[in-house]
């Protein structure tokens, strides 16, 4: 006869919990989760503080000159000695990002409208997915394409003809001066420069902005749109006076996110901007951005002051992007809660 296993002998009061083990770990688990959340906060603060400390020697030595001078001179042998003025890269960063945004935004709106209003239903999903996938392609791929495919073509089709074109006299001397100074600058038709970098940046942020705008447009209730169509609006009027006003705040947020990306982008820019430190003379001149300068020079920085100047540039970039991203997130979150 086999012994029937008896119930375990009761040891005192029976537990009222079905799962009783481990409640002592509760506060520890909560603490770990809180610590992980705090780590995020610490990271952002750490980035800010470390950049400020690393860049301090350069800020202290050059003062306001760091922001106003364009002289970038790592060698102590040249007249004037070692000097770092970041105006060239700072202005280059702002110009490339803004031009990229101006080029890319209308097209992104066009793509988003095309996908929500005009695209045949069967193509809607595949094209939408393709746009979203392309938003994830690493930026170094865009950079390589820019260097090997885009730059030669841009030089041949755009820059060389422009270099030979002189504005006709009937446009006046003012236009000729503007054209020669602000647009052409010291153009070297090799396919690189501020404008070329802006175009590559525009192509890079285009899928991201188009995908975000499309998602926003889809949040407009069909009833609202359809009632606009019902009173006889054309698609243009529906988009301009119903769809876009409906998502206005988050759309601005999405655009600012795109701008944030363009400001901090390194690889797509470094290949094609020409890497000249002076103040960009015109849209077609060679130039540099903060990120491209750091990427090119940091590993080969010759003196501590050189390293410090590069980190100081990084601090400036941090401040600019933080402001842009903060505004973007505030706008996006306000819409979400409304």
């Amino acid at each position: 006869m086999t012994a029937v296993p008896a119930d375990p002998p009761a040891t005192g009061r029976p537990s009222r919990r079905a799962v009783s083990r481990g409640s002592t770990f509760d506060p520890i688990f909560g603490f770990l989760c809180g610590a992980a959340a705090t780590l995020l906060l610490a990271t952002l603060t750490g980035v800010m503080i470390s950049l400020a400390i690393g860049g301090w020697p350069a800020f202290a030595k050059f003062g306001l000159g760091f922001f106003t001078s364009t002289r970038w001179n790592p060698s102590a042998d040249i007249a004037g000695g070692e000097f770092y003025g970041g105006a060239g890269p700072i202005v280059g960063t702002l110009i490339t990002a803004l031009v990229a945004l101006v080029l890319s935004l209308p097209i992104a709106v066009g793509v988003a409208v095309f996908l929500t209003e005009f695209c045949p239903r069967t193509l809607r999903r595949p094209i939408g997915i393709a746009v979203e996938l392309l938003a994830g392609v690493p930026s170094i791929v865009y950079g390589m394409w820019g260097l090997f495919v885009f730059a030669p073509l841009f030089s041949q089709v755009v820059e060389t003809p422009l270099a030979y074109w002189t504005p006709p006299p009937f446009l006046g001397k003012g236009f000729a001066d503007f054209w020669n100074n602000a647009v052409i600058g010291d153009l070297v038709p090799n396919g690189s420069g501020i404008f070329a970098a802006s175009i590559i940046l525009a192509i890079m942020i285009l899928p991201f902005m188009a995908a975000t705008l499309r998602e926003l447009f889809l949040t407009v209730p069909p009833k609202v749109r359809e009632s606009a169509y019902g009173v006889g609006c054309t698609p243009l009027e529906v988009v301009m006076s119903v769809t876009i006003p409906y998502v206005r705040r988050s759309a601005i947020g999405a655009v600012m996110l795109g701008l944030g990306r363009a400001l901090g982008e390194t690889m797509a820019v470094t290949f094609v901007i020409g890497n000249a430190h002076n103040f960009p003379k015109g849209l077609f001149s060679g130039g540099s951005t903060i990120a491209s300068t750091i990427a090119n020079e940091f590993a080969e920085a010759t003196t501590p002051l050189h390293t410090s100047a590069l980190i100081a540039l990084g601090f400036v970039l941090f401040v600019i992007t933080f402001a842009v991203l903060a505004i973007a997130r505030t706008l996006l979150n306000a819409q979400r809660q409304a």
């Binding site: 919990r17 079905a18 688990f29 989760c33 809180g34 992980a36 959340a37 780590l39 995020l40 906060l41 990271t43 952002l44 980035v47 470390s50 950049l51 400390i53 690393g54 209308p106 992104a108 793509v111 095309f114 005009f118 393709a130 979203e132 996938l133 994830g136 392609v137 690493p138 930026s139 170094i140 791929v141 865009y142 950079g143 390589m144 394409w145 260097l147 030669p152 073509l153 089709v157 755009v158 192509i203 285009l206 698609p235 243009l236 009027e237 988009v239 901090g264 982008e265 390194t266 690889m267 290949f271 990427a295 940091f298 590993a299 980190i311 990084g314 970039l317 941090f318 991203l325 903060a326």
Partner: protein
């Protein structure tokens, strides 16, 4: 051939500008239909231009990279000038640093996301702190990656390890992946029903068992998606590696127990405690070089990265599309 395509693009751009002008000012001349026509042409033309330029990028990747793929790419290390070689050290280094970064990022990101979703609503103070953390996470999500590289250089390379190392690279990649994991973890946990939470409490389970065995299990699909997206994001990152892991001509990554010079050796650092090669850095260096073999390898590397990233993204779509139907 290329020039013809370039001129075609210029004509398309001219058409876009023209149609945009018609759309903007057609209404002013009293013709709503004309303005609308301009708008339709602009949208369709814009979509064509966008898709054409992106198709051009993928096409040139395939055209330049596909021919260079052979066995040597995966079995030989990056070559010196003039000799033949492959990308083995860079591929292994990239995988090792990305995996290590992901391990850190998944642990930190899931815990942080859990705190935001489950613990931050407990009192007014935690709620305020939670919204600050959420905001910081959103900013980190799109912060310039080169600044994260600078931060890790200043902290890890200068003061902790004292030289360029694969660890520094892995940590900087982890910092870029953490916000993605945190965000998706919080989002999917918030989607779980209140009943699910109550069921754990009803069993008398401690909170952390409820979270671990019920909520995480229920949300596992979304959390895996988030981790994969983070992996896709960091596998193509170049900027933060430039001055953290630097690069290496040799294949230095190995298993914890490995055989070298006829002896079995044990080294838990996986060989990451020294400068480590990575695919994006090799692409950056070789693309800017003057040698044709190096440029060819750069194209191959770019193609491999693009395939990996697109492959992960497609996998995510397949994974996240299935449960919706059932």
């Amino acid at each position: 051939m290329a020039a013809i395509a370039g001129i075609g693009v210029l004509i398309l751009i001219a058409l876009l500008v023209l149609s945009a002008l018609v759309a903007l000012f057609g209404g002013a001349f009293g013709s709503r239909k004309l303005a609308n026509l301009g708008f339709i042409v602009f949208c369709v033309g814009g979509a064509t231009l966008a898709i054409a330029s992106l198709a051009a990028i993928l096409a040139s990747l395939l055209a330049n990279g596909l021919g260079g793929i052979n066995l040597a790419v995966f079995t030989q290390d990056t070559p010196a000038v003039g000799s033949s070689g492959g990308l083995r050290n860079a591929i292994i280094g990239s995988i090792a640093m990305c995996l290590m970064g992901m391990i850190i990022a998944v642990v930190v990101g899931i815990l942080a996301g859990t705190w935001l979703a489950e613990y931050s609503g407990r009192s007014r103070w935690t709620a305020a702190y939670g919204s600050v953390v959420r905001f910081v996470n959103d900013v980190l999500l799109s912060a310039p990656s080169i600044l994260v590289g600078l931060f890790i250089y200043e902290v890890v390379v200068l003061y902790v390890v004292h030289h360029f190392s694969g660890f520094a690279g892995a940590i900087s990649l982890a910092l870029l992946a953490v916000p993605v994991v945190t965000r998706t973890t919080e989002d999917v946990l918030r989607l779980q029903s209140k009943q699910l939470r109550e069921s754990g409490v009803a069993l008398g389970a401690p909170l952390w068992i409820t979270i671990k065995d019920i909520l995480w299990k229920a949300a596992s699909g979304g959390m895996i998606t988030g981790a994969l997206l983070a992996f896709a994001r960091i596998s193509g990152e170049t900027a933060p590696l430039l001055f953290t892991s630097l690069g290496n001509q040799l294949s230095t990554v190995h298993l914890p127990i490995y055989r070298e010079g006829g002896r079995w050796l044990f080294d838990p650092s996986l060989g990451l405690n020294q400068p480590t090669a990575s695919l994006p850095k090799v692409i950056f260096d070789y693309a800017l070089s003057a040698y044709d073999d190096w440029r060819r390898l750069a194209w191959v590397g770019a193609l491999l990265i693009a395939i990996a990233v697109l492959g992960i993204n497609i996998l995510v779509r397949v994974l996240s599309a299935e449960p919706k139907r059932s």
